[in-house]
Symmetry: C2
Subunit: 209 residues, 2 copies
């Protein structure tokens, strides 16, 4: 079974609200994605993302009936934290989490689209770099950017990465990419909706770490 087929993001309703419980159930399986990269180096990223998810879950479980959608959480925190908001609580955790999710999305999309370095067709550095530039680079200071460049050297071969996305099964590359494309449909929609919500609520921040 493919890792991605275990994760079923649902189609969004017309108002594009994201159901908190479904979202949390689904993203909880995503950190496994970073194991597919193969190197221990990426454990660090996995913990960071797990930390975000834990933080949002903690808020949700305090009052599931109040926090049915992600927007409910942001609005409640905006009221509770006043001037501190949005650099606080689950709002901050989701702000960062969505960037990690976007990173994964752009990387998978780029692979699904067949983008590759013709001189090194079995490397995925071009795909990872594209995802990094679109999702994260602007939020990273120059030291973290340098750390990224170093970590990039630990990226797996394309074939190994696709194999581990399929949980080690010997599926054909085309079948694996078909799974990826299927996964991306609702996944992308959910991420887009979260980004839109941050823009609409004026909750997005641009500081670097």
């Amino acid at each position: 079974m493919s890792l991605l087929l275990d994760i079923q993001f649902e189609e969004l309703p017309p108002d594009k609200s994201v159901d908190t419980k479904t979202f949390l159930d689904n993203v909880s399986k995503l950190p496994l994605f970073f194991d597919c990269l193969g190197s221990k180096v990426f454990t660090v990223i996995k913990s960071d993302i797990n930390g975000n998810i834990t933080k949002i879950k903690a808020v949700y479980h305090k009052d599931p009936a109040k926090y049915v959608t992600l927007q409910d959480i942001l609005e409640a925190e905006r009221e509770a934290y006043e001037a501190e908001w949005p650099k606080v609580g689950a709002t901050l955790a989701l702000m960062w989490l969505k960037r990690g999710l976007r990173f994964i999305q752009v990387l998978l999309q780029s692979l699904a689209d067949g983008e590759r370095d013709e001189n090194n067709p079995n490397l995925i550095r071009v795909n990872i770099t594209k995802a990094y530039e679109q999702a994260l680079k602007r939020y990273h200071g120059w030291v973290v950017q340098k750390v990224f460049s170093a970590a990039l050297l630990a990226a797996p071969y394309r074939s190994n990465f696709l194999k581990s996305l399929s949980k080690g099964e010997e599926v054909k590359e085309e079948d694996c990419l078909a799974n990826v494309r299927h996964f991306l449909v609702n996944y992308t929609m959910v991420i887009d909706a979260i980004y839109e919500m941050y823009t609409n609520l004026n909750a997005e921040l641009n500081y670097t770490v």
Copy 2:
């Protein structure tokens, strides 16, 4: 008050056994050390070390009377885990933790000894690099070594680092270094004893991450 003065490692008894409770109380304050480095980049290291401490604490609290000394833990785990040991449990956590502790020790010792790059007297890169080479480098593959080189660029100035060790107080550099020297006496003895214990019990591993 200096960060280091809050942490009072005790002199060891003649058999050099390390009291688990005292050790855990003391090292729990040490991750703050990584905040003194100033950059968010080091949060990652802080979490890694905090993870080690949490793991050892969890074992200790299961049966404080049984695990009076650190050696009690290692011996109990050696029996419980058989072939898996020592790459397991609190034995593994302490194996890595001691390397982080050694890193801190060598760095502080090098500063206390006045070692510096004469061309850049306000940088501590030479001291950090020395500590890294003695404590950690051999356990890191080439990618993590590259990440280290990148992270080194985020190291603080010597003056700022000493100031934050003194919790921001305007103490004279010489007073701060006197505190460091005082701290290092028992601290070094405890770390040496832990290393010796790993050698004696044949619990040390040399794999890289």
